[in-house]
């Protein structure tokens, strides 16, 4: 579990994160949602150590990340996997080499064992056929799948995904969501996904943290979200007509269900 307490981060005197408190659970897809510029990416960057918060506590299974020395941080980072918005695959390496890279760097296994593990990860994302291709030769969705394979190569305990569906069509987004969700449950990973894609929120949101202007406004599950009373969350979620209609249907069903229950 990752636990954030009273986290603050600012840039040039402007507060970007203010007193963030949140828990991200093992074996669950934890979502950080919010509008563009709300501070989601900054929070994820603070979580992985790419940015240093000014104040607060950041506990990885009771290990305080902000108080660790360089060596401890390095060790913890081998337990992390990250899927970037742009996939961030190494251009000069083939798909297989990309997935093998963390293994080459940190594993003491033989070349054959490392290659077998990399092939297993590629098989998990259904990309064994593309192993000899370069990132520029495959589609955006495939690049994201390779990045997932690379992120899980070292069996991470924590998986971070920064807007994994950005730039993808709805069908491919669904594939990526299901893949992340499946992997999270299969390996019991603490997965944190930073997104503003409402399909992801409704599909895989097991623990959702809503951030507005750097402040945590709401926390719950995808089931709770339609009944949420937080005005800012309601504004964010029901910005689209489709979700307004879904909410109306849900509320009508709830009301008629309640009436039927009273009659019964």
């Amino acid at each position: 579990m990752i636990e954030v307490s009273h986290l603050y981060k600012s840039f040039d005197g402007v507060d970007v994160l203010t007193d963030i408190n949140a828990k991200f659970y093992d074996g669950k897809t934890n979502l950080i949602i919010g509008q563009s510029g709300s501070g989601k990416t900054v929070l994820v960057k603070c979580l992985v150590g790419l940015l240093m918060p000014e104040r607060g506590e950041l506990m990885y299974d009771n290990r305080d990340f902000l108080k660790m020395d360089k060596r401890e941080k390095k060790r913890l980072r081998t337990e992390m996997g990250m899927l970037f918005q742009s996939a961030a695959l190494f251009d000069s390496m083939t798909v297989l080499e990309n997935v093998m890279f963390p293994l080459d760097m940190f594993s003491d296994k033989t070349y054959r064992e490392r290659a077998r593990r990399a092939m297993f990860c590629l098989d998990r994302v259904n990309l064994t056929a593309a192993k000899s291709k370069y990132p520029s030769e495959i589609s955006g969705g495939m690049q994201k799948r390779v990045a997932i394979a690379r992120a899980i190569a070292l069996n991470p305990k924590y998986l971070f995904c920064d807007e994994p569906n950005s730039g993808l069509d709805p069908k491919t987004s669904l594939v990526i969501d299901e893949l992340i969700h499946g992997i999270t449950h299969e390996y019991g990973i603490t997965t944190i996904i930073n997104t503003h894609d409402m399909n992801s929120v409704m599909g895989i949101g097991e623990n959702i943290v809503f951030i507005h202007k750097g402040v945590k406004e709401w926390e719950g599950t995808s089931k709770d979200i339609f009944a949420a009373q937080n005005e800012k969350l309601v504004d964010f979620i029901f910005a689209s007509d489709l979700f307004k209609k879904v909410r109306d249907v849900e509320m009508r069903e709830a009301a008629s269900g309640g009436a039927a229950a009273r009659r019964g």
Partner: protein
């Protein structure tokens, strides 16, 4: 002034990270071999081509400009050799390489930065500065002295070519001048200077590429800045090293 000082500070702190102990020597060595190929071997062609033509042009220019009954003809060979050994094949060639290799390094690292590939390395727990920059510095410091040798030979062949194919003077006279009062130390001076220039090209270009902040426009700007500053520093270092080594 403060901005320049801050840049120097950032450069020193980056170099501090670059010269840290590698995580895995094998991976760094693999990267070093790749850089030898990419930065060094791929530059051999351009070095040979430029040196060949400049060697020929220097010979023709000197022949035309110092022609005098009081001046022995072999002086052309002597002056051509001194120019090639002392300045052209080390300093001028490194200025040219700063353009080719420097922009290559800065744009490669800059693109890696803006596409989050460097962040990906950091999150894996890898010292990205060391993994990406140290092999480049090592490869360039290995290959540039080799390119200097190639340049000297190509320049001399170019000088001979101007005698054989253009017929500006007998090749035997040029050969006498090339061998006249040869000082071995001048060759070493060229090597020593090229080591420093190689470090300047690799480290300065890497600094500009690694610290890019923004998008494609900033990558282009970093690439230009890398070439300009590397060239200025090479000229300055040439002045200091020439005075130290030969003064």
């Amino acid at each position: 002034m403060l901005k320049a000082l801050a840049s120097v500070g950032r450069y020193v702190s980056l170099m501090w990270r670059v010269f840290a102990r590698p995580e895995r020597y094998g991976m760094y060595f693999k990267q070093y071999l790749k850089e030898l190929q990419q930065l060094g071997v791929n530059s051999i062609g351009i070095v040979l081509l430029i040196s060949l033509f400049i060697g020929a042009v220097i010979t023709i220019q000197i022949k035309l400009n110092i022609e005098s009954p009081w001046m022995p003809k072999w002086t052309v060979g002597y002056v051509t050799r001194e120019i090639l050994l002392l300045e052209f094949s080390s300093a001028i060639m490194c200025l040219i390489l700063a353009g080719k290799i420097g922009s290559n390094i800065a744009s490669e690292l800059g693109t890696m930065r803006v596409t989050q590939q460097i962040d990906a390395l950091e999150i894996m727990g890898i010292n990205s500065a060391s993994y990406l920059i140290l092999p480049k510095i090592g490869a360039l410091m290995t290959m540039i002295p080799v390119l200097v040798i190639f340049s000297i030979f190509a320049g001399i062949i170019g000088a001979f070519a101007s005698c054989w194919f253009i017929g500006i003077m007998p090749a035997t006279v040029l050969e006498y001048g090339l061998q006249y009062m040869f000082v071995e130390w001048y060759v070493w001076c060229g090597f020593i200077k090229s080591f420093f220039f190689a470090f300047i090209i690799a480290s300065v270009s890497s600094y500009f590429g690694y610290t890019v902040d923004g998008g494609s426009i900033e990558v282009g700007k970093a690439s230009t800045d890398a070439v300009v500053l590397s060239s200025v520093l090479i000229l300055f270092a040439d002045l200091v090293l020439t005075q130290l080594l030969m003064g």
